[in-house]
């Protein structure tokens, strides 16, 4: 006979022996995930802080450089990411209700949308590369300050905007790539029928991660793309 009477009452093979029951196990892992996301907030927070300070100092160049970004692609990508958040939520819901097929479909859709986002991001970076907007020896920016067409743009200050642009969208894209990896893993195990209404913690916590990455983009989009767009 097993020595823990509580473990006897819950035969779920996914229950680790150091938890009293499935609910305690789920609460503990959810709390752990949120603590991880708290560190992620501070990680991105450092870059947002640097961005805000430089934007305060070099606003004309930030506005000029921001206007060189493709607002159509940026808005479309925001919509793609929001749709992927919906498919994640529906995948988690399907697991809660024990619907395997729906889980697989929504996870696959999430992967497609995540890859579409990365593809569009790649297109944007390619055009930046061709325009010599990558910080470095061959950096050259010819845009003008909105409302002041004659004003010369300080190359160093514009370079700082693009350094922050590539650092922030780059770290965001890296998180997306990791997310695509995680969701491929989830898709495989969802297909195998591992996630049940009693146990779907990996799906739930990966969902939290995906939504977090979505929130980072929700802030990156207006801060990077929408500076001084008025005509």
């Amino acid at each position: 006979m097993p020595d823990s009477p509580i473990a006897v009452a819950h035969h779920n093979p996914e229950l680790r022996h150091h938890f009293a029951d499935m609910e305690q196990q789920r609460d503990a892992s959810s709390l752990g995930m949120w603590l991880f996301l708290a560190t992620e907030i501070m990680f991105f927070g450092g870059m947002f802080c640097a961005y805000l300070i430089y934007r305060l100092w070099y606003f004309p160049e930030f506005a000029a450089a921001s206007n060189s970004l493709d607002i159509t692609l940026g808005t479309a990508n925001t919509a793609v990411l929001i749709c992927s958040s919906l498919t994640v939520v529906l995948a988690v819901r399907a697991a809660q209700l024990g619907k395997r097929r729906a889980q697989v479909v929504y996870l696959a859709l999430t992967l497609v949308l995540g890859l579409a986002f990365l593809g569009v991001k790649g297109m944007e970076w390619t055009s930046k590369f061709k325009e010599h907007h990558i910080p470095g020896p061959s950096f050259h920016f010819e845009g003008s300050v909105p409302g002041h067409p004659g004003q010369a743009v300080d190359q160093q200050h514009a370079q700082i905007f693009f350094s922050l642009y590539f650092a922030m969208t780059g770290m965001h894209a890296l998180h997306m790539i990791i997310g695509v990896g995680i969701f491929s893993y989830l898709l495989y195990y969802a297909w195998k029928g591992r996630y049940t209404p009693e146990y779907h913690t990996p799906l739930e916590n990966s969902g939290l991660y995906w939504h977090f990455v979505d929130i980072v983009w929700i802030y990156l989009f207006p801060l990077l793309y929408l500076i001084d767009r008025k005509k």
Binding site: A38, I41, C49, I82, G207, F212, L226
Partner: protein, 94 residues
């Protein structure tokens, strides 16, 4: 206590709200509001983030109050980082 299952209707409503707010923030960026442009953009972004955190990330329904404490603490420390840094840099006499 079992976990809360959000209805498809609520999820779709949040999704639509997020899409509409994205359109609004892009549209309003082309309207001259002076320094308010930045503030409006950040307010809209924060509304979107709140919708995602509360509904999509289930914080509104979390039975575990510790999760709420962690979320509030994380935002508090982020505000401390941004608030104190900007209080310094925006008031310097260069």
């Amino acid at each position: 206590m079992s976990e809360h299952i959000v209805s498809v209707k609520a999820n779709v409503a949040v999704w639509l709200a997020l899409l509409v707010l994205t359109g609004v923030t892009t549209g309003i960026a082309f309207v001259d509001l002076g320094p308010l442009n930045t503030i409006v953009a950040l307010v809209i972004a924060t509304c979107k983030a709140l919708l995602v955190v509360l509904i999509f990330m289930h914080v509104k329904y979390a039975s575990d109050k510790l999760v709420k404490v962690v979320v509030i603490a994380a935002v508090f420390f982020l505000m401390l980082l941004l608030g104190l840094s900007l209080a310094d840099y925006s008031t310097r006499l260069l």
